[in-house]
């Protein structure tokens, strides 16, 4: 009895600091955001007015915000799908892709390192880097060769029909490397004899991938899906730093987080921005619950 008490005290002593930090720096800002969302606070006054749900009503007719939401939703579908497909493909080639099912393609150790490079760079660095890559004149890395071949330059970031795909491309470029490593780790934990057995049974690369690798990696893929989904919902820095007019041109690349930032720090509508933040919070929570529910599956034991 006394020992149990001592034990909980002991645990409490260790947990007190992190829980306090979590309450102060994570939970409390959330709660405050909910309160600020119901005020007309403009960020500089000390006495915001309580306006109830006005901000939420206003939000429904905010065309730009809903445009941002559709961009987030498009990213939510495309980013995880493409990243996982590409990363799985690379991970498979790097680990069991040499046809005998026991090693990667030639040079796989080199590629493994190269694929991880983009993940090491800070998002802001990537964004500035790609501004140069996408430059619309002869000094752009992509348009230079295009123009040398006599083609007209593509406005990767300046054409509203193209800019969104440029953003998606950069996000993919940066995300794939990490998931190659993640899936490689998953593949490494699959017993080799499974692949050998499949091979003896006459499985080619494709059926080996579909029938052996994929089912055994399901847990890892599920984790990747949730991570990438959250990434797609709270994407901010790459859009804000890389695109023209922060989410342009003509709002063609804007996302929820960018609109929150714009409303708070450009328009000084902190109350309204908090309301947008609350909406985004529910989007993210909803997605996470939904995806964990939908992808629940029997774990394979071996």
């Amino acid at each position: 009895m006394y020992n149990a008490h001592r034990r909980s005290l002991f645990l409490f002593a260790f947990l007190a600091a992190p829980v306090t930090l979590y309450l102060v720096y994570v939970i409390s800002p959330y709660v405050q955001a909910f309160y600020i969302a119901m005020t007309d606070w403009r960020g500089v006054s000390a006495t915001p007015e309580f306006v109830g749900l006005d901000n939420f009503v206003r939000l429904f007719s905010d065309g730009i915000f809903w445009k941002a939401v559709t961009h987030n939703l498009a990213l939510l579908v495309l980013l995880p799908l493409l990243t996982i497909v590409i990363a799985l493909f690379f991970a498979f080639l790097l680990n069991v892709g040499n046809g005998r099912g026991v090693g990667g393609v030639a040079g796989s150790k080199f590629y493994r390192v190269v694929f991880f490079f983009p993940h090491v760079l800070a998002v802001a660095v990537v964004a500035v880097l790609f501004q140069q890559v996408f430059r619309p004149d002869g000094s752009g890395m992509l348009n230079g060769p295009l123009m040398a071949l006599g083609a007209r330059p593509v406005g990767f970031l300046s054409d509203p029909d193209v800019a969104f795909w440029s953003v998606l491309g950069v996000m993919l470029w940066q995300a794939v490397g990490f998931y190659v490593v993640l899936f490689s780790a998953g593949l490494a934990s699959i017993p080799r004899d499974m692949f050998e057995a499949a091979q003896i049974d006459g499985a080619g690369r494709v059926s080996m991938f579909v029938r052996v690798t994929l089912p055994l990696l399901w847990d890892t893929i599920q984790v990747a899906w949730v991570y990438l989904g959250i990434l797609a919902l709270d994407v901010f820095a790459i859009v804000w730093v890389m695109t023209d007019q922060h989410g342009g041109p003509d709002f063609s690349t804007t996302v929820m987080a960018a609109e929150i930032y714009r409303n708070a720090f450009h328009y000084f509508r902190f109350g309204y921005a908090s309301a947008l933040g609350v909406v985004m919070f529910f989007f993210t929570i909803g997605f996470t619950i939904l995806s964990l529910r939908l992808s629940r599956r029997e774990r394979i034991e071996y």
Binding site: F12, I36, R42, A46, R135, D137, S158, F265, H266, Y267
Partner: protein, 469 residues
């Protein structure tokens, strides 16, 4: 297990863990109403100290460290102030991120005393005015000027400063630099090729055609990533055609202000430039990239303001010879004559009303407006200040000389607009739409309809504070 003196240690841990909670929760994002030390009874005023600066309280100054740097404040303005008030300790600070650094100070109720609220990350004047955070600077206007006790400060500066710095009937924002807008070119290039500065829009179009055909360079460009550089000449042109009230109507969010006839003519004219004469890739380049292209003789003309020459000083060839010309005549029956210019005071200084020492803040501005301070400033950063006659007898660079000459020739025919500082949402929409107009994504009519719609939205949104002029 041996008994350890556990109480002390545990209690210590617990106390250490919990102590910051109360303080931190209180200090978070939510604003806390603090009883502000209402700028205590000002020290007695006198002829030598007309604003009643307390002799011993410190003065905190924040300078936007942008195109003009911060040396002018440290080496010109502050020594001048310090010489008069040796007892006042000046706390000099600078940042490129005015909002991030200073917005929390306003929310916390302890803003600094003088702020150069400029740059892309400046604080919204409308929000500050709405919350009564700006000191009424009228006493400064009515105080005797630094140089001559017989002249009021009001009479030493460009009257536009007072008009543009007035929010809710109170003069509260001091623009220090006079920005002069026009079309910028290289006088050398024009001379070498025999190109003439156009006086009518037809001549301008012909000039564009000539330059395009010559194959030497592209005729025209603008900072495609920042389309406010292009709606500037568009609006100035509309004002030239239809008179200053075109712009006043825009500012006052009048019904149909954007879709007025002069606006249609101007939008159509610039859309034609966008369709025919832009440098390749313009839409995706920023101001520095397009201006540098001009310095490399890849493009002949671009719209900009009188800060251009200083901004480009490191990439401009020695014999480039910047020049600026005003917008040409459009219809032959324009309401405003040839030479009409868009000018506006910029580099905006404010004194927060809830700061610790607003009296000294105003006095600091009075020192800035002295002839010596303004003249030294103009020379250091190659620009024109709002202080009358401060540039007299100073050596001017070709671009500044050209802009000053245009300013003299314009006389009273200067126009300006303020909606972009009053309604940031409308500015973002105008930027997005102007980019689309120039790249052919919007017809001139659709362009103006879209902006009219946004203006109407703002007009009907009760949460946005309205201004009038």
């Amino acid at each position: 297990m041996p008994h350890t003196p556990r109480i002390t240690r545990r209690d210590l841990l617990r106390a250490a863990a919990l102590a910051p909670v109360a303080g931190a929760l209180a200090a978070c994002a939510t604003p806390a109403a603090k009883p502000t030390a209402s700028s205590a009874a000002p020290a007695a005023t006198s002829a030598a100290n007309p604003l009643g600066v307390p002799g011993d309280k410190p003065l905190e100054v924040w300078i936007f460290d942008g195109g003009f740097g911060q040396d002018y404040a440290k080496n010109i303005h502050q020594p001048l102030f310090k010489a008069k008030y040796p007892g006042v300790e000046i706390k000099h600070n600078s940042t490129k991120e005015i909002t991030k650094v200073l917005q929390p100070r306003f929310a916390g109720g302890n803003p600094p005393d003088v702020i150069d609220n400029s740059g892309a990350n400046a604080m919204d004047f409308g929000a500050l005015a709405q919350d009564g955070q700006l000191q009424d600077l009228t006493p400064l206007l009515d105080a005797p000027s630094w140089d001559d006790p017989a002249t009021k400060v009001r009479d030493t500066i460009d009257p536009a400063v007072v008009e543009l710095g007035t929010y809710d009937g109170k003069f509260s924002v001091l623009g220090y630099v006079n920005y002069i807008f026009g079309i910028w070119y290289s006088q050398k290039v024009f001379r070498d090729n025999g190109w003439e500065v156009p006086r009518t829009w037809d001549e301008f179009l012909k000039l564009n055609e000539t330059i395009k055909k010559s194959g030497k360079m592209a005729p025209f460009t603008y900072a495609g990533k920042h389309p406010q550089y292009l709606y500037e000449p568009l609006l100035t042109m509309a004002a030239k055609i239809g008179g200053n009230e075109v712009l006043v109507n825009l500012d006052n969010l009048e019904d149909g202000a954007w879709t007025a006839e002069p606006m249609k003519a101007a939008a159509a004219a610039w859309a034609e430039i966008g369709a025919k004469y832009l440098m390749e890739g313009t839409a995706g380049l920023d101001h520095v990239q397009t201006q540098t292209a001009q310095n490399k003789y890849k493009v002949a003309m671009l719209p900009s303001g009188s800060w251009l020459e200083n901004e480009q000083k490191t990439t401009t060839p020695d014999d480039f010879e910047y020049g600026m010309f005003p917008l040409p005549d459009v219809t032959g029956s324009d309401k405003l004559p040839y030479g009409t210019l868009h000018t506006t005071p910029g580099e905006n200084f404010i004194v927060p009303s809830k700061g610790a020492n607003p009296r000294a803040g105003m006095e600091y501005l009075r020192a800035m407006l002295s002839k010596k301070a303004a003249g030294d400033f103009s020379e250091l950063v190659k620009t024109v200040s709002v202080v009358k006659g401060a540039g007299e007898g100073r050596q001017l660079s070709p671009g500044a000389a050209s802009a000053s000459k245009a300013m003299t020739e314009a006389g009273a025919n200067t126009v300006t607009y303020r909606w972009q500082t009053w309604y940031a949402q409308l500015k973002d929409e105008a930027m997005a739409a102007t980019g689309q107009l120039m790249s052919g994504g919007l017809t001139p009519d659709k362009y103006l309809e879209r902006l009219q719609k946004k203006a109407d939205e703002i007009k009907n949104d009760s949460s946005i504070k309205k201004f009038r002029r």
